[in-house]
């Protein structure tokens, strides 16, 4: 490695070392990770025995009827 290469490395490393790290980084990370963990836990506990809402039932029926009428039209 020549002297210019050494100087280049020195200047770049010096610049990188002078850059201040974000202060609240660790706290923010741990809060976000805890939130992700809680969300994942909540999602794994979804109760599938819940009744679908009226709107969802209507959407399912409507979509099914439309599909069937399209099939009849093609036939």
């Amino acid at each position: 490695m020549n002297s210019i290469d050494n100087e280049l490395r020195g200047r770049l490393k010096n610049w990188a070392d002078q850059q201040p790290l974000p202060e609240s980084g660790k706290a923010t990370l741990l809060a976000a990770a805890a939130s992700m963990k809680k969300k994942a836990k909540d999602e794994s506990q979804i109760n599938f025995s819940e009744q679908p809402s009226d709107l969802l039932v209507w959407a399912m029926v409507y979509s099914n009827e439309k599909r069937m009428s399209m099939a009849r039209l093609v036939a």
Binding site: I4, D5, E7, L8, R9, R11, L12, K13, N14, W15, A16, D17, Q18, Q19, L21, P22, G25, K26, T28, L29, L30, A32, A33, A34, M36, K37
Partner: protein, 197 residues
């Protein structure tokens, strides 16, 4: 890249993270945050983006811990994820974040690195940032990993999943461009450095 003690500690911490430990995640963050932040900053050239990517890298470690092999060193994984996320960020934001003065400089490209321009840019930090920003993205990634993080050509090739010859070529052209942008070409180095001392 790392000493044996650090490796064994990382190994234990990764196992703990896989078991859901947030304390272990915090410890890994404290240990490797400099590496991730300065790599992201060197590539993105934006402190706010680098801070966001710092979070993102360690959140991914938390989320995908099961995919990390605790038997292998963690640093190459961190470099790979940081380089990939930074690369994506730059691709998405480059045309919007290019400073106005850079565009005007590009339009009147006749000036190049004249002594007047050099003396105006008295801040070494700004010099380095500008020089890095002027490299092509693939060159910048290699330059940051090689010069700032002290990785070998072989390690960089493995991290970026490209042939070693490609790393060598990008480093060569990146070095040439840096020397030019920092006024370090043969015969001009000493004159320019006197401007800062």
């Amino acid at each position: 890249m790392t000493n044996t003690a650090a490796k064994s500690n990382d190994h234990e911490l990764i196992l703990a993270i896989q078991g859901g430990s947030l304390d272990a995640l915090g410890e890994i963050y404290t240990r490797h945050r400099h590496l991730v932040y300065r790599t992201a900053l060197g590539i993105c050239n934006d402190p706010e983006a680098a801070a966001d990517l710092l979070q993102d890298v360690f959140l991914r470690l938390h989320r995908f811990a099961d995919r990390v092999d605790p038997q292998r060193p963690l640093e190459p994984w961190l470099y790979r994820v940081t380089a990939n996320l930074s690369y994506t960020w730059v691709k998405r934001h480059h045309r919007w974040t290019r400073p106005l003065e850079e565009i005007s400089e590009w339009l009147s490209s006749g000036m190049k690195n004249s002594p007047q321009l050099i003396s105006e840019q008295s801040d070494e930090s700004q010099w380095i940032q500008r020089a890095l920003a002027k490299l092509s993205l693939p060159q910048r990634v290699v330059v940051v990993l090689y010069y700032i993080n002290d990785l070998s050509l072989h390690e960089i090739a493995e991290i970026l999943d490209i042939p070693e010859g490609t790393v060598k070529s990008r480093l060569h052209y990146g070095r040439q461009a840096l020397k030019q942008h920092l006024g370090m070409e043969e015969g001009s180095v000493r004159d320019i450095r006197y401007e800062f001392t």
